[in-house]
Amino acid sequence: MKNIQIPHVTDPVAYLCAPLETDSARLCMVVGNALHGAQDGELFLECEESERLSWKDGRIDGLSYGDSQGFGLRRVNGMFTGYAISNRLTLADIVRAGRKLALAAPEKNVYCSVQYSWALSTHYQLVSPLGLSVSERLAILVRVDEYLRRFPGVINTNVSLSGSLQTIMIIRADGYITSDVRPLVRMDVGVQCEKGNKREWGSVGFGGRTTYNKCVNDLAWVSAANEAYKQSCDKLEATACPSGEMPVVLGPGWPGIILHEAVGHGLEGDAVRKGESVFAPLLNERVASDRVSVVDDGTVPDRRGSLNIDDEGTPTQLTLLIDRGKLVSFMHDRMSARHFGVCPTGNGRRESYEYAPIVRMTNTMMLSGEDDPEEIMRETSHGLYMPAFSGGQVDTVTGKFVFESPVAYLIEGGRVTRPVIGATLIGNCVEALKHIDRVGFDACLDKGIGSCGKDGQSVPVGVGQPTLRMSGGVVVGGTEINQS
């Protein structure tokens, strides 16, 4: 696979300055003037290329390519944020944006420089994934399709491959320039099986900040295809899920979505600052058993949720949020860091130049504990085993969260028995954390498919955890009334 050296990868600053017909030094001056009197702020310049190829029903189902470019100028005075965008990359528009924002926020402040002490480092290759021709990508998808159709009961497949490259440059009001080049790829493997007159789809995805090599590597797509097939078959076999409060054993990796919703959002500095999180008054308090430690880590190599710098230009880091059961930190962008008098943690993110940055997660993970995952299962006399979720959401004000699972499995007498369908899990953050009584030693991140939505903006994230058990504190919703 070719590793193409293209200008926006080798010199992003020059590449992004080119359409503006200027150089970075002059651009710094323009930004400095435009943000004169601002307490904080920056110019965020972005160009992005993306492509998608999808295969369904024995033929191409979608073939597309897109590019976008634009800038966002942010002006911060106290708790006020002014944000102006345009996708005309001209100095005149940047100047116009500056004037419009200055009118909206006439208050004049001294620029508040950012303090942090860790160095910039890179956590993924600065490379474009977009080097494969349509035919080469098609060959990969056809191979997966042929593999799946050999399984009994398969009536349809849906395989897709997406790739994108985001190139950004950030110029802060104090003239500090930083840039990043962010590849992202993703493969989704879906298969539809039939049994009698029932049909069900199983779907598994994976990806990361790398090239399509990751998808082509035999182990990656084969294990995704096998898992998708098993999911589809289990859904066909599945019976109605019981309902009520019961112990729940969550599998490693992707079920970490429960942490992301139940804990992560409540620890975002903006929700805490505004008093809209149940965790706001709990800093330095015990919130879970001492088996539980949770981090947000933007530095995990090649992962979907990783970044070299956040979208304010702050280098990312590993932030310890819960340390052996004690809440020790929140996540901060520059605004919440200023409010709390701490350093920003590299969590200021935005979906694209069209949005002002807000506090977002990167890779949020519970660390390994000491329990044997097989022991955890054996010790559970009854309950539900949930190895996967399709999505979830949370209300950080009340702490209530909900998740849905495509297929779950009954635990009877310490063993996984039959698949059940339609399981929804609901609970309250603080309660759920307190009920985690077993934490396995098999912590891992998900395979690279997470997207998190907040305030109308979506960003790619990673979630992870070990096998763990909640002895209670959550309610399972299914159509069957639990007889026990």
Binding site: R199, V278, T398, I426, T479
Partner: protein, 446 residues
């Protein structure tokens, strides 16, 4: 922002695509501007403005092979390279036997008459837009009103926004359309507290015309009410019981119904409505209409994304499923004409019932009135539905206590067979629906 410039770009893209070998082309160029003000605790917290946003989209066919492209870069050289690229992509794609561009017979009218024919839709508010200062004052007053609601203790903010967009759309069959639209939104979010318990609630409204926005008074009342309603909420015991959907969540059921009628889902056998055309899904007093010709609504249009003319359709008449919703492509998959739904639903409406909401609540000895759903939708392939829910526990129509941290589950087909609906009505997005009563669903709590 000029539609003349956008038209020029679109025509050039069309010419270039044909030059590089495209046999069919669909092209769109759109521009928009937007301003929004957010206030919190009576201070302006955010001001967002779009100085200029422009986008182009191009879909090409080479025979039956297709590919598409989107871009925000309008440089002449870049555009030419994009066109070359998309045609090259199409040339190596596999054939889509259902690919087609709408011929003249399927258009709503001669393109030269379009502007005149569309005028009744009133997409654009011709009045001068409110100034930023006026929007700020409106947002501040909205927040103040909502803070006055009893038991509301804190504001999460209020916002007002205005936007305008223009768009040019053309196909290689000769269809040309341009139009302009305005939009305004208003939202407010409040927190109610009692002791250490907090609940949040809010209201949101959007309209094409500024004067059609819900009043501050009404938004404030709805936001306060929804925040306070859940104070003291607790779960209920797991049981099978009647469930009433308040219109604000009932509208989602209509949306799911619409998704299940999608021609693509029928073709791929991934809808629970498969083989149920003309069957009695609902009681015979239920009619569900999709009407694309209601003035000033966001969902209204004379033609869809494939430039096929739209029409008012009864999707369900007297409880019976009457049709699938199709684009040209999904219509071809099923061997039926397009129903003009390439852009999705337009304005969905469920007929008025004959009993009031209060009578509906009193008609069962006990019920869970759902006012909020947490989670995604049903499994469209099976109709199975399971979701987090919150609302009120009712006995003989009287509120006993608010409920949260429960899930509700059921199967849509079973639920719809004995569904009863009220004479109340609320509109959310482009869906208008009354309260809905379902005989039995599984509610899981403690």
């Amino acid at each position: 922002m000029s539609t003349r410039d956008d038209m020029r770009v679109a025509k050039r893209l069309m010419r270039l695509a044909k030059k590089y070998g495209a046999t069919g082309v669909t092209c769109s160029v759109s521009s928009s501007t937007n301003e929004a003000i957010e206030v919190r605790d009576q201070c302006v917290e955010k001001f967002e403005a779009t100085i200029g946003e422009r986008q182009l989209g191009l879909s090409v066919l080479v025979g039956k092979r297709e590919a598409s492209i989107e871009s925000e870069c309008f440089g002449a050289q870049h555009c030419e390279r994009l066109v070359e690229r998309v045609v090259a992509m199409a040339k190596v794609a596999t054939e889509n036997p259902y690919a087609a561009i709408a011929p003249r017979e399927l258009w709503p009218c001669d393109p030269a008459c379009l502007t005149e024919k569309e005028a009744f839709l009133e997409r654009c508010d011709k009045n001068p837009p409110p100034r930023i200062g006026e929007m700020k004052a409106l947002a501040l007053e909205l927040e103040r009103s909502a803070l006055h609601y009893p038991d509301v203790t804190k504001s999460s903010g209020a916002s007002v926004s205005r936007g305008m967009g223009t768009s040019v759309f053309m196909t290689s069959e000769g269809f040309i359309a341009e139009h302009k639209g305005t939009s305004y939104t208003k939202s407010v979010s409040m927190i109610a507290a009692r002791g250490s318990e907090m609940q949040s609630g809010g209201d949101y409204h959007s309209a094409r015309h500024f004067a059609d926005l819900r009043s501050n008074e009404e938004c404030a009342r709805r936001a306060g009410e929804s925040a306070v309603m859940l104070l003291g909420a607790k779960p209920i015991a797991t049981q099978v019981m009647p469930v009433i959907f308040d219109p604000r969540v009932a509208v989602r059921i209509l949306g799911w119904f619409f998704g299940a009628t999608n021609g693509r889902n029928v073709h791929f056998k991934s809808t629970f409505l498969l083989d149920k055309k003309y069957e009695q899904l609902f009681p015979d007093d239920v009619t569900i209409t999709d009407d694309p010709h209601i003035p000033r609504k966001f969902g209204s249009r004379l033609y869809d994304a494939e430039c096929v003319k739209t029409a008012r359709h009864e999707l369900v008449r007297n409880g019976r499923l009457m049709m699938w919703t199709t684009s040209m492509e999904s219509g071809l998959m099923l061997g039926i004409p397009s129903s003009g739904h390439a852009s999705g639903k337009s304005n969905l409406l469920l007929s008025f019932g004959s009993v009031t909401r209060a009578e509906l609540c009193r008609s069962v000895p006990t019920a869970f009135l759902v006012t909020g759903l947490l989670g995604h939708g049903p499994n469209i392939a099976t109709g199975d539905f399971s979701s987090g829910a919150e609302g009120l526990l009712l006995k003989d129509g009287e509120i006993i206590h608010p409920v949260n941290e429960v899930t509700i589950a059921g199967n849509l087909l079973d639920m719809w067979k004995t569904m009863r609906h009220g004479s109340d009505r609320e509109e959310y997005g482009s869906v208008s629906c009354p309260s809905l009563l379902f005989d039995r669903m599984t509610v899981s709590g403690a």
